[in-house]
Structure formats: C-alpha cells, structure tokens
Symmetry: C2
DNA sequence: ACGGGCGTCTGACATTTGTCATGTGCGGTG
DNA sequence: CACCGCACATGACAAATGTCAGACGCCCGT
C-alpha cells in the first residue's frame, strides 16, 4: 500500500509547510494536498480525495467545522481530524456533531499527531483527553437558539435598536433575551456575556 | 563557524517542533533551545545565550514584546525576531520600540523565515512589508494614556463603577474618557470601541 | 511671563439598558 | 387533552451609560 493520503489545511504557511515536512518524514503518510482557506480545502478535497483531512479550526472563509460538514456530505470516505490552538469546549461538541473523527490541540507533538492520524484513518475516533474533560465540565450551552442568536448579534457592541432590526424582533424582546442570556451565564452585562459565551464556544 | 544559534519560543508544541525540524535542515542554523512560555523563553535565553531569539507574539506568561524588552536589557547581543498569527499594527510599533529586529507573520514559508533569520543575525532589520503598510496606514493611537488605560479596563465588559474603582477615578471621569475614546475611534459605544482598539493593536 | 492648547478631572442631565411582571400562542410529551 | 417550556411581545421602573459644559494645572512657544 502507498500510505495514508492527507489533505492539510491551515492558513499559516509556516505551520502548514512545517507540518507537511514533518508528516512526510513518516513513511506511511503522504501529503497530497494543502490549502490555506476553508473553500480551498473543500476544492482540494474534491480534487484529490484524501483519506484523512487535517483541518485547522480557525481559517478564513469557512471554519474547520463547516468544512467538515461539507466534506461529510461530499466525501463520506474522508475522515476529518481537526487541529486547533484555542480549545473552546463548544467547538469540540459542534465538531463531533459534524462527524469529525478527531480533535486535538496544537500542543501535541508531531509524532503524536502522526499516531492520531493513523488512529483516525483506521476508523477510530480520537479526542484530546484534556479538551474532552473541559467540554464535559463546561457542559452544554444553556442558551436557547434565539438567545444565542441575539447574543451573537450583540457581539460587536451594536445597540439594542440595531439588534432588534437585524433580528426582526421588538426591542423589548431583544432586551429580554439578552437579559436572560446574561443571567444564565452569570455575567454582569451583555458584553461580558458575549465574552463568556465566546470563551466556552457557545456562540 | 558553527552556525547561528537559535532560541525558539511558541506555546504550540506542534508548531515549535515542526519549526525546529525545518530550521535544523538549514545547515547554518542550529536550534539550541525551545520554550513554551514567556518566562521560560527568558530562562532559556539566559542559559543558552542564543544569537537570535524567534518569539511568538502571543504566549502565556509574558508576550513576545515583554520578553523582547527583558532580553534587550539582559542579553543585548541577542537579536529578537517576532513571529505572529494576527498582525495588529500597534503590536509592530510596540515591538520596534522594544528593540525587536524583525517582525513577520506566520504566513511566510520556512525558507523565507530562514533567510530572515540570517538577515536579522547579520545586524539588519526586517519587517514584513504588508504589516508595515498596515501599521503606517493605521497610524498612531489617537488615545491619550488615560483613555487607553480606561478602555483597557473596560475590555471585559466591566461596569463603569468597577472601572472607576480600579482606576481610582470618579465615575464621571471614567465616562468622559470612555466617551472621548469612543468618538475618537468613531465607534457606536465603548464596547465597539474596545473591539476597534484591539483590532488596531492600540490596547 | 503669559496665553493657548491639551490632558485631566468633575457633577448634572438626557438617553439607553437591564429588570420585572405579565400575557399570548405554539409545539411537543406524558 | 393538559401541561410545560419556548418564542414573542408590552409597559413601567430602576440602574447604567453617554453627553455636556466647565474647571484646573501643565507645558510649549512667543
């Protein structure tokens, strides 16, 4: 056999290149494509049909989870492994729901990553234990869909009037959602709530 | 001669390791130390006295610029090169003020980085042209020291009362600074102002 | 040395937000 | 069917925030 065929997607050349070089050292792994953005990753995957896609979570265009979702639909054979710098609990959950087979922080070593790639390729799942623990202890988002939506619109500091308009809701309703989101998150005000929700990957 | 002695500091094992491997391929470069945090980088530098320190801008403990400042004082011989994912204009300015000799985004290739390391080692400076252009077009911060200070305290969504206490100012004064910062930045409110200032590296 | 500009600071007032009580309708579950 | 939780909405009051006019001191240039 000719080895596991890999797609590497990360917006940072330096890292992608370095990673490609390191993984190429393992003689059962071969990098067949690289991409710097979400859409590019998708295009590359279609063109090269890799066995495993190693995706950065934060990329311009479409984040790793979105790419994974599309990939799941188009190339069900292709296993997806997500690599990330900032391990937000909510992201892990979303990723698993999108059919991602592996989720690891960038703090692992290259050897370890190679092993994990093999694990994932063999059809098993791998989730970093620490991230998993965080995700479990953080639990699910307590926010209702609407609360999350409104909170997201509030993320850039927009006034209530604007949020109301963009969400097609009355201002009173917006304040209500904001208020309940704030109390559910135990925040001081909506801006702190946005920060918290971001931190936990709930928005 | 035995090559340029390097210190590599980045909190992401994967990247640091990969980078070390790639740079080691260049036969005039040798990685003599690695670190995952700011303080660790400092300790490593003291112990190994590298010729060039390649520092990630965002690290736990102390950021690249702080480390560079300390390094400047303790090991003036050691050139500092900063590598970053998110190129905020203000950071570049702060870095140069701290005596940093090079500033590049992680989007460069490893070959390019190796060249830049040589450039810096030879005593020259190197700043990524795009980041430099951004920095120039963004210009200096229009904020007075107090405005910046107060804005920073407002960053996590704290109420005015708390900011006032932490800054030892009256609430009215705090509102004033916030207000003038907001208008200088052309923002809708202080939270949007915080976002903008962050974006431009002014806080 | 003097006046102007700027950074600093304050309290009062207008506006925006947050909170609360309350009500309607809808959809799923026991 | 009855119930419960959620989405959606209103109005009123309390609290936080934004805005304004003004005061003081410092430094810089004339």
């Amino acid at each position: 056999m000719s080895g596991v065929r890999l797609l590497l997607a990360d917006d940072e050349h330096l890292i992608r290149g370095a990673l490609a070089a390191l993984l190429a050292l393992e003689d059962d792994l071969v990098v067949v494509a690289e991409a710097a953005t979400g859409p590019e990753a998708l295009a590359m995957a279609r063109a090269h049909r890799p066995d495993v896609a190693v995706l950065d979570l934060e990329m311009p265009g479409a984040d790793g989870v979105k790419v994974a979702t599309s990939l799941r639909a188009e190339l069900p054979e292709c296993r997806v492994l997500i690599v990330t710098s900032h391990g937000r609990p909510g992201h892990l959950k979303r990723a698993l729901e999108a059919g991602v087979r592996g989720f690891v922080p960038k703090t692992v070593s290259a050897q370890r990553l190679a092993e994990i790639i093999r694990t994932v390729h063999a059809g098993n799942r791998y989730v970093d234990p620490e991230l998993a623990a965080d995700a479990i202890s953080a639990g699910d988002s307590p926010l209702t869909p609407r609360e999350a939506e409104v909170l997201e619109l509030a993320a850039d500091g927009a006034p209530v009037a604007e949020i109301a308009e963009r969400a097609a809701l009355s201002q009173g309703t917006v304040r209500n959602y904001l208020s309940s989101a704030v109390s559910k998150l135990g925040a001081e005000n909506r801006h702190a709530a946005v920060r918290l929700a971001r931190l936990r990957g709930w928005v």
